[in-house]
């Protein structure tokens, strides 16, 4: 038993496990070919991508932004408007979406990041609702709730989208890992733990807060653009406070401040209710209840989320192995 536990001390073990999981995941569409399951996997994929981005802002930097759906929407409308009004390939829109996301994210960051914790949360909440109200009212441009149709797909099949997502997830995972383990990550943690203390050690908190927020908004926008291309349809209903809530739930439930947490969160928050749909037929109407209940339970009882739970478990196993 100790030998097995020893293996977990080596980094190379984790690399092998990771590669194995990736291969398994890549093979999923070969076995689960039903249209419904494919759609589910793609949906989970989008939740995971946005949660991974959001994790950087709330988990590592400690700023509970409730405006993620705004940037999701920025990317989405970039994709929709550029392809529909300018007749351009969705891939070009895809490349432009993180740029618009970054720009708007940076502009929003300037005033809002002056707020702390509760006021930041409420401020971003109000901002999301304001943007939603504007989107609904500008129906000539945005199509409001009825929406715009006919947005071209980046790639034709759901399966292809799935693979595209896997690529993006791996990129974001590794990008986040590099960032978090570098000096930038330490600066984010310093900001989260004591933002007033950090500048006394020469840390330009303002610059890093804004850059991080803008970066996260950029990738959230990218995800939004991809999502809209997948749906081929956009409506302001996609970008309400409810979508921010789902992203929040994925991150918090999975475990904020950890690399894999949002992935676990996405699987549980979005995936589990769908899979249980078959098992608990009539219970599907209680799905939001389920998500809400898990969120409340986690935030009050298990702040570390699922990932935190695993860490504790690993800690116990290690202690048990040492005996």
């Amino acid at each position: 038993m100790t030998r097995i536990l020893d293996l977990f001390n080596k980094k190379i073990t984790y690399l092998f496990i990771f590669i194995a999981i990736v291969i398994l995941v890549l093979m999923l569409p070969l076995y689960f070919t039903s249209a419904y399951l494919l759609r589910l996997m793609v949906t989970i994929g989008f939740s995971i991508i946005t949660a991974l981005c959001f994790n950087l802002v709330i988990g590592y930097m400690g700023y509970p932004s409730l405006s993620q759906s705004v940037f999701y929407g920025v990317g989405g409308y970039t994709m929709a408007l550029i392809t529909l009004r300018l007749g351009v390939s969705p891939w070009i829109a895809l490349i432009l979406s993180p740029l618009t996301g970054f720009a708007i994210g940076y502009l929003v960051a300037i005033p809002f990041l002056k707020l702390r914790s509760m006021f930041f949360a409420i401020g971003t909440l109000a901002f999301t609702m304001l943007v939603n109200a504007i989107l609904i009212n500008l129906h000539t441009i945005t199509g409001a709730e009825a929406g715009l149709r006919g947005i071209p797909r980046l790639v034709k099949s759901d399966t292809a989208f799935f693979y595209l997502q896997i690529v993006l997830i791996i990129l974001i995972l590794f990008g986040t890992k590099i960032l978090v383990e570098s000096y930038w990550g330490k600066i984010l943690v310093a900001i989260r733990e004591d933002e007033d203390l950090a500048p006394h050690f020469g840390i330009n908190t303002t610059k890093y807060k804004r850059l991080t927020f803008a970066l996260v908004s950029a990738f959230t926008g990218l995800a939004g653009a991809m999502f809209i291309s997948y749906q081929t349809y956009i409506s302001s209903n996609y970008f309400t406070i409810g979508s921010s809530f789902t992203i929040l739930a994925c991150t918090v439930v999975g475990g904020g401040g950890s690399l894999l947490g949002p992935i676990l969160g996405g699987l549980v928050v979005v995936g589990a209710p769908e899979l249980l749909r078959e098992v608990l037929k009539g219970m599907y109407i209680w799905r939001p209840c389920f998500v809400g209940a898990i969120l409340v339970a986690v935030i009050l009882l298990f702040p570390g989320g699922i990932y935190g739970g695993f860490q504790k478990l690993a800690g116990y196993l290690r202690k048990w192995g040492e005996k």
Binding site: S182, Y183, K186, I187, V189, A190, E193, D194, L197, A198, P199, H200, F201, G202, I203, N204, T205
Partner: protein
């Protein structure tokens, strides 16, 4: 570091009001290179406010602060820190949920980014831990340290980027006699290493032992400036407050 002509820090006509109360009242003084300057005075006489003004936490209402050749009046805190001024705080401020090691690394990342994982960096960290008698608790959480260890950790974090000026705000607060002695030795070694120190102290023994020169404040104004010997017999000072002796 070559000894330089002129003061390392110069405060002139500094004023800071808080809603009608003059915390700092047209204060002027200089700090010479390589000296230990003590800042004494009753509670509320403006000492910590001066530190906050120097490090950019407060904005001065009027007056100026010069550090070496720079005008640092109302500059941003992080820029002032990068110019070579470090400080500790009256109430212990640390990254409590992080280890001692992480605290020190965080204190140095602003300037030591690229070489973070180098041998040289590890050596510097070990040196500073040894210097502040914290080598045994390198991997302990800051929240698990004793009070005196936490105070010394603040000093370690202030020292890691080799400042030219170190501001110590009641660093011995809450320490026992022995711990104070330990701190006195550390402070002396800091000064011997070429770093100028300004220290706020309520502990008279520490203040008198360490300071080359003492400034006494009351109601935001300077009421005395001299050696420890001169100050302890100064009538105005004695009138202003009965000093606490260990």
């Amino acid at each position: 570091m070559a000894r330089q002509e002129g003061p390392i820090l110069e405060i002139h006509d500094l004023c800071k009001n808080f809603g009608g109360i003059k915390a700092v009242d047209e204060l002027s003084f200089q700090v010479k290179h390589g000296e230990i300057l003590g800042l004494l005075g009753p509670n509320g006489s403006g000492k910590t406010t001066i530190f906050n003004l120097i490090t950019g936490v407060y904005e001065a209402d009027s007056g100026g602060i010069r550090f070496e050749e720079y005008d640092i009046t109302n500059q941003l805190s992080y820029k002032i820190a990068l110019k070579g001024i470090s400080r500790t705080f009256q109430a212990t401020k640390l990254f409590y949920k992080q280890t001692v090691l992480n605290n020190i690394v965080t204190a140095m990342i602003a300037r030591t980014r690229k070489k973070l994982a180098s041998q040289e960096t590890f050596q510097r960290i070990d040196n500073v831990l040894e210097f502040t008698h914290l080598e045994n608790v390198k991997h302990a959480l800051a929240s698990d340290l004793t009070h005196a260890q936490q105070r010394r950790l603040m000093v370690a974090m202030a020292l890691i980027e080799e400042p030219e000026l170190l501001l110590l705000d009641e660093i011995t607060s809450g320490m026992s006699g022995e711990e104070c002695n330990e701190m006195i030795e550390i402070a002396k070694k800091i000064r011997d290493g070429g770093i100028t120190i300004v220290l706020i102290e309520h502990n008279m023994r520490v203040a008198m032992t360490l300071s080359d020169r003492i400034l006494v404040l009351n109601f935001g104004k300077k009421i005395a400036d001299g050696t420890p010997g001169e100050i302890s017999t100064n009538e105005t000072v004695l009138e202003a407050f009965l000093g606490k002796e260990e």
